[in-house]
């Protein structure tokens, strides 16, 4: 294992173009140095954008704290929710964040099983994103409770009331689905990090860093035995989390599909929620990966190939989502149910929220079609913008489902409009801030790209070179 100081200039950080998943001239050492360099870079050498970004994000975190404190003092009345629209931003955000979380598991688990080598340089990144997104999502179901201090009543535990949670309620299913998902994602993420922790330990300059990384590495020596066990465990986890990718968002979609509210009561929800989740997940990966890659000059590790592949995935899942919308529209007419029909008309123009629906169609269906063209996929700024647009679009989708459907359901006398308050917004942006600051800390403090897996990549590419020679 190399221990002498790295000289970053030794390798050109050029984008090798869409064919390659790693820049030319990389060897084990250079890969290691480049990635570890990001972490070991002296504090003052941290890219300025990172500081600015973090400062901004941290500001939002404080906004979040203020909002939540006020929420706990006054109760959910600080939000715009009312009867009939008793669920507002809280649930919209919950579903949105959970969705974003999906990309991580998908990339790490499913693509791993499918042996998609291009996943390697972005999977760590995506997994962390998953963790942080799920953390944000997990807060909302508790925050939105009328009596949040009793949230533990949703857990099945023996108590003096001889009461159990009500197993028919999708919210109880949520508790299990989300917590399982969070746990597995965490394990997966950490397991993936162990060998790199070891590397970091060995490359760390000072002893504290060595001790910290050492502890985290849990005595990893990289022996053959370690590696074989490691591979087993990693594959096992991958196998475990694959069904989760499908299950979690299906369960989340049951919150709506099981209810009788017109616009919720639809069988297509599970598949199209999952697709939507992956859609937004990849969008978010791109949104984050593109700037980071730029700031840390990782163009040779996160190459155009990655960008393009992700764009394609977005395009694909986006089309599934579009199909979902189409089916909703079709069914509302085909079912011949007056309430379903009215709910959809309401969505499109009768109700006060018609514009959100058309905005979401624009963001989720029309604009992303640009990705058909290779030119667009190869043009990073455009891809970045599209990824942002999709994020917005997917949020709007949840808004339309939750709020618009509730605002006009069965009895005309009880229809009403929901208007978000400043506290609705600050809770939402607050979680975005939390998510970003966690991301920034992760990028600065941990190897954002899997070192050992990159080494494998290098190994493969080298061997192909040998054959060529």
């Amino acid at each position: 294992m190399k221990t002498e100081e790295p000289e970053p200039a030794s390798v050109a950080t050029l984008d090798p173009g869409p064919e390659k998943i790693i820049g030319p001239g990389h060897n084990f050492g250079s890969v290691t140095d480049e990635i570890a360099g990001v972490v070991f870079r002296p504090f003052t050498k941290t890219p300025r954008q990172l500081f600015i970004g973090f400062a901004f994000a941290f500001l939002l975190v404080n906004l979040f704290l203020v909002a939540v404190t006020w929420l706990f003092i006054r109760g959910v009345s600080v939000w715009g929710i009312m009867i009939p629209v008793a669920w507002g931003f809280a649930i919209v955000n919950f579903v949105w964040w959970i969705g974003i979380g999906h990309a991580g598991t998908l990339i790490s688990a499913i693509l791993l099983l499918l042996k998609q080598d291009w996943r390697t340089s972005i999977n760590r990144f995506a997994e962390s994103m998953t963790l942080f997104a799920v953390a944000c999502a997990g807060m909302f179901p508790i925050l939105h409770l009328g009596r949040p201090w009793l949230a533990y009543w949703l857990l099945p535990y023996p108590n003096t009331m001889w009461m159990w949670p009500q197993p028919r309620s999708p919210l109880v299913w949520d508790v299990f689905a989300v917590s399982t998902y969070a746990t597995v994602s965490l394990l997966f993420w950490f397991t993936g990090l162990i060998p790199d922790f070891a590397t970091m330990r060995d490359k760390a300059g000072n002893s504290t860093a060595r001790r910290i990384f050492g502890t985290l590495a849990m005595g990893w020596r990289g022996s053959a035995k370690h590696w074989t066990r490691y591979q087993k465990a990693y594959l096992l986890l991958a196998g475990l989390s694959t069904p989760l990718v499908i299950s979690v968002h299906s369960v989340v979609s049951f919150d709506f599909a099981v209810a009788i509210v017109p616009g919720w009561h639809t069988t297509i929800f599970p598949p199209y929620f999952v697709a939507g989740a992956i859609y937004s997940g990849f969008a978010m990966v791109l949104t984050l990966a593109i700037p980071v890659r730029r700031w840390y000059h990782l163009e040779d590790l996160i190459t155009m190939r990655h960008i393009e592949c992700m764009s394609k995935v977005m395009l694909g899942t986006g089309l599934i989502v579009a199909y979902g919308y189409g089916m909703e529209a079709f069914m509302s007419w085909y079912s011949g149910n007056e309430y379903e029909r009215y709910a959809f008309l309401n969505r499109m123009w009768l109700g006060g929220y018609w514009w959100t629906y058309w905005l979401l169609i624009l963001c989720n269906i029309l604009i992303p079609q640009a990705l058909w063209s290779r030119k667009v996929r190869m043009h990073i700024p455009t891809v970045f913008v599209i990824s942002l647009v999709v994020n917005v679009g997917m949020w709007l989708e949840r808004f339309v489902i939750v709020v618009t459907s509730l605002s006009r359901d069965f009895v005309p006398s009880s229809w009403g409009m929901y208007y978000p308050t400043v506290w609705d917004w600050s809770t939402y942006f607050g979680t975005i801030g939390l998510f970003l600051s966690l991301m920034f800390l992760f990028i600065r403090g941990l190897p954002a790209i899997s070192i050992f897996e990159m080494r494998e990549v290098v190994h493969h590419t080298e061997s192909t070179h040998d054959h060529a020679a």
Partner: protein, 216 residues
């Protein structure tokens, strides 16, 4: 290069895993213990009262019936705490000037009520009705214990929901003949397992476990 960690840290790591598990389990266990303990439930904690009224003396020694003081136990939801005049009906004659009873006499003079500390205090969202339980053959001592052995009043049951529900699910275990309801010294017979179901049928006792039976 030098080892960062001493070799003992290997075993330390392993131990710490076990320790963590134990710690979590311990915390949960402690929580349950405290919740069931008399600090929370007040079971067998005698409460201080303005007058150290002894049920032991009045019930066991004097043999006064429950209903002499708790007049509305058969007719109303609440058993009723006797008005001062009830105390005075005797204590104007006996112990007429005992130091201990000054608060009672004072109350009777001034017309200012005695303020007793509540011993059996249900949460305010629980609606318990004495009269129906008495009518259906649930005895005083079943819930309140051997009051005739209590110098100062204390709870013998937690009054937790599970305690109520246990009987509501199967009243047969605690039901007794109607004429025995106010027998504070009542002992359940060996054949309760036959007697119980019979009485339940006879008294048309329903096993009410609807929430609104108690919560409204």
């Amino acid at each position: 290069m030098a080892q960062i960690f001493h070799r003992s840290s290997n075993s330390l790591a392993k131990i710490s895993i076990v320790a963590a598990l134990l710690a979590v389990g311990g915390v949960v266990w402690a929580a349950y213990k405290i919740n069931a303990g008399s600090f929370i439930t007040d079971v067998s904690v005698a409460r201080a009262q303005p007058v150290p009224f002894s049920h032991k003396h009045h019930v066991a020694d004097d043999g006064i019936d429950c209903r002499y003081c708790h007049t509305s136990v058969e007719t109303s939801a609440v058993a009723g705490i006797p008005p001062t005049e009830t105390c005075m009906s005797c204590h104007s004659q006996i112990w007429a000037n005992a130091e201990l009873l000054e608060p009672v006499r004072d109350s009777f003079r001034t017309g200012k009520s005695l303020e007793w500390t509540r011993v059996h205090d249900l949460p305010d969202f629980v609606y318990f009705n004495h009269s129906i339980h008495v009518a259906k053959g649930i005895g005083c001592s079943t819930c309140h214990g051997r009051v005739d052995r209590m110098p100062l009043m204390f709870k013998v049951n937690t009054l937790y929901m599970q305690w109520c529900v246990e009987c509501h699910r199967n009243p047969a275990q605690y039901i007794r003949p109607r004429d025995q309801v106010f027998n504070i010294a009542y002992e359940y017979p060996e054949n309760q397992s036959e007697l119980g179901p019979r009485l339940v049928k006879e008294y048309k006792v329903l096993s009410l476990t609807d929430c609104v039976t108690c919560h409204r």
